[in-house]
Point group: C2
Chain length 350, copies 2
C-alpha cells in the first residue's frame, strides 16, 4: 500500500526556482523505491506573479494550498527598489500571510556547523543548536499605523502583540524539543526594557519549566545573545524567542555556521490543522538569479526537515547524511547549483 503525500511547491522568485529544482531532485532520490509518492502541485506565486497579474495571494490560492500535506517554498521577493513593486510588499502579502493564515506558530531553524565548512569565526567550537522562533505573534502582527503620514507631525506606531495562548504553545514545543536534545533551553528576549512582552514570555517559560525538571533553563537578553553567538555559540542547545528576535538571531546564526546558503527552516503547524511549510532562510537574491550560482543546500536541508515532519525520519536522516558527506568533500572549486544537487542526489541513489 503506498502513501500519497500532497505537496504544494512554490518556487518563487530569483534563485527560488533554481534551488527548488535541486530540492525536488533530492526529494525524489530520497523516496525513490519507497512506498511514499509525492503528488506535487506548483504554485507560481511571488513578485513575478504580482507583476503579471497584480495578485499576491488570493483567497483561491490560499484555499488550494491549504488542501496539501506540506509546502516547499524557494524564496519570494523582487529586485530591491523595483518601482513597480513599490506598493506590493510581497513579504507581508505572501510569505507572512502564509505563515499567519496557516498558523505556523513554530518557525524551526536549526544551526549546525558542519565539519569542513568555512565560517567567519576564528575559533567557532562545536555549534549545534535550534532556534524555535514564534511565527504568528509579536512585532510581526502588522498591528501598526500612522497619523499625519508624510508630514513633519507624523507619528508611526507598531504594536507587538503577545498572548498566553500563543506563547505557551511555542514554549511547550521548545521544551519538548529540548527533551529530545541536550536538555537545555534558553529564552531570549529583552525583558528589562520590553517589560510587558518580555514578562509574558518569562512567566510562561518559568511555568512550563516546572513540568520539565530535567531541562536546564536560562535567560539571555537579545543583545547579549548576539555576543554569545560569535564568542560562545556552543553554549546554546534550544533557543526559544519571539518572531522578531528569532528573525535577527537566525540570520546571525546562519552566518556563523557558514552562511545562509546552508540554513534551512520549517514553518510548522504542530497541530496538523494546516500544512507546514519548508524553506531556506535565504532570500530570492535576484542579483545572481538564473546563473546557477546559488547554493541549493539550504533548500535541500529544508527537504530533510519536511521529511522529518511527515514522519519519514529515515529518509530525512539520509538526506542530511548525504548533505554532510557532500559538504565534507567540498573543495574550493565552484560548482553550479545543479552540480551540487546532482552530487547530493547521487549519494542517495548509491
Amino acid at each position: 500500500m503506498s502513501r500519497v503525500v500532497k505537496l504544494a511547491v512554490i518556487p518563487g522568485d530569483g534563485i527560488g526556482p533554481e534551488v527548488i529544482a535541486e530540492a525536488e531532485k533530492v526529494l525524489d532520490a530520497a523516496t525513490a523505491g519507497s512506498s511514499i509518492r509525492f503528488e506535487k502541485t506548483r504554485y507560481a506565486l511571488g513578485a513575478g506573479r504580482f507583476l503579471e497579474t497584480g495578485d499576491t495571494l488570493t483567497d483561491d490560492d490560499l484555499d488550494a494550498i491549504k488542501d496539501h500535506d506540506a509546502i516547499l517554498l524557494g524564496a519570494v521577493g523582487g529586485v530591491p527598489g523595483d518601482p513597480r513593486l513599490k506598493n506590493a510588499n510581497i513579504e507581508r502579502g505572501l510569505l507572512l500571510k502564509l505563515r499567519f493564515e496557516l498558523d505556523h506558530y513554530v518557525n524551526l531553524r536549526p544551526s549546525k556547523l558542519y565539519p569542513g565548512v568555512p565560517g567567519p569565526l576564528a575559533d567557532p567550537g562545536d555549534i549545534d543548536f535550534v532556534v524555535v522562533r514564534e511565527g504568528t505573534e509579536g512585532p510581526y502582527v502588522g498591528n501598526g499605523g500612522s497619523i499625519r503620514t508624510g508630514t513633519p507631525h507624523e507619528v508611526a506606531n507598531e504594536t507587538s502583540v503577545n498572548t498566553a495562548f500563543g506563547v505557551e504553545r511555542v514554549v511547550r514545543y521548545a521544551f519538548d524539543l529540548a527533551e529530545r536534545r541536550r536538555k537545555k533551553l534558553t529564552l531570549v528576549h529583552k525583558t528589562n526594557v520590553l517589560v510587558h512582552a518580555g514578562g509574558i514570555w518569562k512567566r510562561l517559560v518559568d511555568e512550563v519549566a516546572r513540568e520539565h525538571p530535567d531541562v536546564t533553563v536560562d535567560y539571555v537578553h537579545v543583545d547579549a545573545a548576539t555576543i554569545y553567538l560569535v564568542t560562545n555559540p556552543g553554549r546554546f542547545d534550544v533557543i526559544v524567542t519571539d518572531n522578531l528576535f528569532g528573525d535577527i538571531l537566525t540570520d546571525l546564526a546562519g552566518a556563523v555556521t557558514g552562511g545562509i546558503g546552508l540554513a534551512a527552516s520549517g514553518n510548522i503547524n504542530p497541530d496538523g490543522a494546516f500544512p507546514s511549510m519548508f524553506e531556506p532562510v535565504h532570500g530570492s537574491a535576484p542579483d545572481i538569479a538564473g546563473q546557477q550560482k546559488a547554493d541549493p543546500t539550504a533548500a535541500i536541508l529544508s527537504v530533510s526537515l519536511l521529511l522529518d515532519h511527515l514522519g519519514l525520519t529515515d529518509e530525512a536522516q539520509r538526506v542530511t547524511t548525504a548533505v554532510e558527506e557532500d559538504i565534507a568533500t567540498r573543495s574550493t572549486a565552484t560548482r553550479s547549483t545543479a552540480q551540487i544537487g546532482d552530487a547530493i542526489a547521487a549519494r542517495l541513489q548509491a
Copy 2:
C-alpha cells in the same frame, strides 16, 4: 581664565565604581595643567541605593543631575535574579529614565577594531564605524501593558512609537557625522515587516539625504545587518537605526571589535538643553565586581567622547591615542583594573 565644567559622576553598581575610578584618573591626567577644571559631584545611584532606600531616581536626584554640564556613568544593575530587586527594574527606572528625561536622542556608539586587539573573527578587515542609535523613541518608550495578566488569557502588548520630529533630528545628526567621516550612511531597520515604523525612518532618511548629495546612502534589514557585521563589517561607516535595533547591533559590534570591555558610548542631547551622559556599553557584571578584573578601557574611551562633546577635541584625541598605544602593547599578561588605568594615565602625563 579657567573654564569650570560641572560633572556628575554616577559610579553605579558592580564593576561601575572600579572602572569609573580609572576613567576619572585619566580625565584628571588629560586635563592636568590646562585651563579646564572639572568640578565633580558623585551620585550614589543604582541597585545598591535602591536596596538601601527603595529609591531609584527621585525628582530631586534628577533636578540635581540636570544642573551639570555632563555626566559620567559606570554601570547600573544588581545581581541577576536577586529577589529583593524583583520589582525594581533599575534599567527602566534609572538608566532609561535618565536617557529619556535628559532627551538623549543620540546614542553614539563608535566601533573600531584597534590594531593588536584579538577578536572572534578570523578575518575582520578594517572595522571603523559609528552607530547612531535613536535614544528616546521606538520600542523603548515603555508604551505597553497587559490584560488578564498571569492567566491563560493574558494579552501583553508593547508599542513602538516613532515620530517625524524624533526620527528626523537623529537622522540629521547621523548625516552630519557621515559628512565628517567617510560619507557613507546606512539605515538599518526592518521595513518589509514593520511597515509603519520602518516607513517613517525610510522616508526621513530619503528626505534628509537630498540635502547631502555627497553622502552615499543605503538600506539594510536588521537581520542582514548582523550578517554583515560578522562577514564584512568594513562596509559600514555611519549606521543610523532605532533604539532596539541599535541596542542589538552595538553589542554585536562590540563583540566583533574585541569585546564590550572596549566599547564606549555617549548619550547625547545635541541641543545642549540637558547634560549628555557618557558610559561604557558593558553592564555592571556583579560576578567580577570588586576583584579588579574589569577592563576600564570602555569607561576611559567614554571620557574621550565626553571631552570631545565638550569641545575639548585635543584632550579627547590625546586620551584616544593613549588608549590605542596601551592596546598596541598589551600582552597576554593580565593587569588589574587599576594597572590599566595607571598605564593609560601615565602615557598622558609623559
